[in-house]
Amino acid sequence: MTRMVVVLAMALAVLPGAARAKDEPPHSHGDHQSLDVDRPAPLSGSSIYQSDREWTDMEGQRVRLRSLRGRPVALAMVYTHCTTACPLILANLQLIESALSPEARERVWLVLASFDTERDRPAVLKKFAAAHDLEPARWRLFHGGRAAVRELAMMLGVRYKQKAGGDFDHSNVITILDRDGVVRHQQAGLGPTPTEPAALLERLAR
C-alpha cells in the first residue's frame, strides 16, 4: 500500500503545484525570515500540501503545511476559547496519541489549526499547549490568517462560521494524512473512540 502511494506520488510528480504565493500580499512579520525551504519535490496532486498559504507556529515561525511532510499527521481544526466540542476533539487526538506504539509516537505529527485568526496568536497557542501537556516534539499548533484558514477548511471539507461574539460554529473532524499530505481518513463527530484513525496512523508511521 505504501509502495502504491509512492508510485502514485511519482506518477503525479510531473504536475507542478499550483503556485499561488505570488497572489498573496507580502506579509511583514517583523524580523522573522525563516520560511521553510521549499525544495522542488514530487508531490501528489491530491496532497493538501499543494497549498502555499502561510501559517505561524507557536514559536512564531512562519511555516507552510508542507513542513509537515515526511510524517503522517492527525489534524483537527479548533479554537482554544472553545469550551464545548474542542476539548473533546483534543481529548480524541490525545487518545490517538496514547494508542500509538512508542516508536510510532516519535514519527507522527499531531496538529491543531485554529479557526480563530484574532485570538489564537502563537503565544496563546503556546500557553494552551503547555497547559495541556502537549509534547512539542510531535504537537504542532498553527495560527493562520483568514485566507489560510478558509483554504484549509475547504480542502478538508470542514464547515465553520464565526458568530457575532467571536466564537465559531464548526464541524468536528479529525483528519489523518499520509506522509505526503493526502487525506487517508476522516472521522466526523465526537462520539466514537478513535480506534480506526489510531490504527491507521500507526500503520502509516511504520
Binding site: G17, A19, P26, V158, K163, A164, G165, D169, N172
Partner: protein, 271 residues
C-alpha cells in the same frame, strides 16, 4: 516602506470607521454594482424555532456593509484570459485537490474555450479554488453567502412571482448550452443573471451548518458541530432559497458542475 503604507491604510480605515463614511457615494466601476449596507436577506435564524430569536448567541444578524458586486457572471472569455496569465490553473496542470477531474472539461483545450458555447456565456465547470483564485487575480473576492443573497434579493423586490419564476427555472432540466450573460433585465441593483442562468460559488459556501440527516429533529447533528449551530428558516415557504442552501451544503470546494459558475465582489472604493 511597507509598514508605513500599511499604517496609512490602517489609519485611513480607522478614520473611515470613526466617521461612518462607508463610500456609499463613491462611484462604482462600470462592470460592478454597488449594494448599499443593510440587513442580510435573512433566511435562517440561529438557534431558533422559526422566530427570529434575539441573538441568544450574539447571532442576531449584523448589517452587511456596502459592497460592490460584478453585474454579470465571469465569462468563458474572461476566464481564458486568466488562464493565460495563470497557467497553473489550466486543466492539465491544476492539482486534483484544487479541482476535480471534470474541471473545464467542456473546453476545447487548456486555453481555448472552443466554439460550441459562446465566449460570453458564463464559465462553469470551475472549482471554488479556481473561482477564488480568479477573483484574487482581479483584486476582488468571491461574494459571501450574505452578500450574494442580499444582492439577489434586489432590495426586497424578491416577490412571490419572482420566486415562482426561479422555481420554474430550478425545475427545468439543464440540457441546452448556456446563453450569454447580461441578456435579461437587471434587478433593482443593476445586477444581471442572479437567477435563471447558473448557480454561483460563494466565498463561504461551507458556512451553513445544517445537518444532512433529515431524521434529526434539531436541524443539526449535535456531535458533528461545535457551538449552537442549529438553524431554522424564517420563511419555510421560500423553497427557492432552500434549494440554494441545499446545493451549497452539498458542495466540496474542488467540485465542478456544468451549471455552477461565479462572479466576484469587493469593498467599495474609499472616497
Amino acid at each position: 516602506m511597507k509598514p508605513a503604507v500599511a499604517l496609512i491604510a490602517v489609519t485611513a480605515a480607522a478614520i473611515a470607521m470613526a466617521t461612518g463614511t462607508v463610500a456609499v457615494g463613491a462611484a462604482a466601476p462600470e462592470d460592478m454594482a454597488l449594494v448599499p449596507a443593510g440587513p442580510p436577506a435573512a433566511f435562517f435564524v440561529p438557534g431558533g424555532s422559526g422566530v427570529a430569536a434575539a441573538g441568544a448567541d450574539g447571532g442576531a444578524s449584523a448589517d452587511v456593509p456596502a459592497f460592490l458586486i460584478d453585474r454579470r457572471p465571469v465569462t468563458r472569455r474572461q476566464f481564458a484570459e486568466f488562464l493565460r496569465r495563470r497557467p497553473e490553473w489550466s486543466r492539465s496542470r491544476v492539482a486534483a485537490v484544487l479541482a476535480d477531474a471534470h474541471y473545464l472539461e467542456d473546453w476545447a483545450s487548456d486555453f481555448d474555450a472552443g466554439a460550441r458555447v459562446p465566449p460570453d456565456a458564463p464559465v462553469t465547470r470551475v472549482s471554488w479554488f479556481a473561482a477564488n483564485a480568479y477573483c484574487q487575480w482581479r483584486g476582488k473576492e468571491l461574494p459571501t453567502v450574505d452578500q450574494w443573497e442580499r444582492a439577489a434579493a434586489g432590495g426586497g423586490k424578491d416577490t412571490a412571482a419572482t420566486r415562482d419564476r426561479i422555481l420554474r427555472w430550478y425545475s427545468q432540466p439543464a440540457t441546452e448550452p448556456l446563453g450569454v450573460v447580461g441578456r435579461g433585465a437587471p434587478n433593482a441593483y443593476g445586477v444581471y443573471d442572479l437567477h435563471g442562468l447558473i448557480w454561483e460559488w460563494t466565498l463561504d459556501f461551507n458556512s451553513t451548518l445544517i445537518s444532512t440527516e433529515s431524521r434529526d429533529p434539531g436541524g443539526k447533528d449535535d456531535p458533528l458541530f461545535c457551538g449552537s449551530g442549529s438553524l431554522s428558516a424564517v420563511d419555510p415557504s421560500d423553497y427557492a432559497t432552500f434549494m440554494r442552501y441545499a446545493l451549497r451544503n452539498s458542495l466540496r470546494a474542488n467540485y465542478t458542475t456544468s451549471r455552477l459558475g461565479f462572479r466576484c465582489a469587493r469593498e467599495p472604493d474609499q472616497p
